[in-house]
């Protein structure tokens, strides 16, 4: 699993990247009450807003960690947004992106690097 400084996680399987937000991000947001997932077929560039996660207090954009096309979205999340708090780094995946350039994933932080990054916050 790889991580961004915006607290998204990416898990690559072949050329499909599954993306969500990290446990740290979910904890910071607090109780999540609304999730908007991307439309299938949407073309994303790394850094584009791809989803919105809202807690009671605030809305937070989720950015595409890699460029590619959305091939799946987690349709359970809009009906059960609390999954983002309960299982952020697995069950509450947000979208799967068919990546154009797998080296974009390698350029992201691995878990020890992300944890070291969290220690600086």
């Amino acid at each position: 699993m790889h991580f961004t400084k915006d607290h998204e996680w990416v898990e690559l399987d072949g050329d499909v990247a599954t993306v969500g937000i990290t446990a740290y991000a979910a904890g910071q947001l607090g109780d999540v009450v609304f999730v908007e997932v991307p439309e299938i077929g949407k073309a994303l560039k790394a850094g584009d807003g791809m989803a919105v996660v809202e807690s009671v207090k605030a809305a937070s954009d989720v950015y595409a960690p890699v460029s590619g096309e959305v091939v799946a979205a987690n349709g359970d999340l809009p009906g059960t947004p609390e999954m983002v708090n309960q299982d952020p780094e697995r069950g509450a995946w947000i979208a799967r992106i068919k990546v154009a350039d797998k080296s974009q994933v390698d350029a992201l932080m691995d878990r020890p690097a992300y944890e070291a990054f969290l220690d600086t916050l």
Partner: protein
Amino acid sequence: MSDQPLKRTPLHPAHQALGARFVPFAGYDMPVQYAGGVLAEHRWTREHAGLFDVSHMGPAVLTLDEPTGDADADHAAVAAALEPLVPGDIVGLKRGQQRYTLLLNASGGVIDDLMVARPLDEGRQGSLYLVVNAGTKEGDFALIGQAAAGKATLHPLAGHALVALQGPEAAAVLEALLPEAADLVFMQTAVMHWQGEELTVSRSGYTGEDGFEILVADAAAPALWARLLDDARVRAIGLGARDSLRLEAGLPLYGHDLDETVSPVEAGLAFALSKRRRLAGDFPGAARLQAELDAGPSRVRVGLKVQGAPAREGAQIADADGRIVGRVTSGGFSPSLSAPIALGFVPPALSHPGCVLNVIVRGKAQPAEVAPLPFVAHRYARKA
């Protein structure tokens, strides 16, 4: 942004010990939530009793400079020193009665909303107990102090903490410490004693629930807080749930739903224009407010039940034809209704409950239906 270091209330260490997450609010480092999170805290308050640190707010006492010793004459005199700033009947307050009122500017806009109480005790007549908002307290105190100069003096109650205990079990909890609390009904106040400490207790709050607000000296605040939290029915509640509770209760928040451009008639606060004052027209902006009462204001505050994403402050409100007709002034998610709700201003013709409007969230129109306020019924302990 100010470079001033954030102020801390005397309960700050208690919040840290409870695992609070802090945010800067009106110059104070305040707990936005504790370990349980906003939703759980909100629901706990609706079902049991929530304990809030509201020490950032501005309690003060306005005291007559030359009391005569005639209790009613002294009350009338100190009330007369405040009345030129507000539209409420302060002279007419009974002993121990508290009233919600507004500081108004010359055009009838709201400088702040505040609580004013006439003390219960004979020995305290000729003074008024005020509580103003955190973000406006310096300006409010200066305004009141100047207006009353020569007649009465405003004493901000520095060195005091303010806590609120709110929820259906609040009365049973507080009565275990202070049996006299049972004697208060909604919007009454009295001075009580606990462990030798003087407490000013009001049966009021800003959650829509029955409850109390308690003024306590800084030194005694941690012990009172700890004693209340010892009761299994009580949990500490942060500013996050305080906001969602007051939003469900349809209560306006100063600086968001109310500001110097908003009139009390527009904001649905015409009840704060007391009859005697309205007939006399002797408060700031009386001409505008009377005209709005007669002809109707050009916009009014409404509740909205929103479909889709929560509509936050600043979101535009559109009519069925897509014309922008107003703006959301506060909005979020209602834990009690499990749906997004909002407050905003729209023209009166679009303000009837059931009127279907749209809110614009991230460029997309989402249906939003005008709902009666409050969204969640008030449960105040009114006189039987």
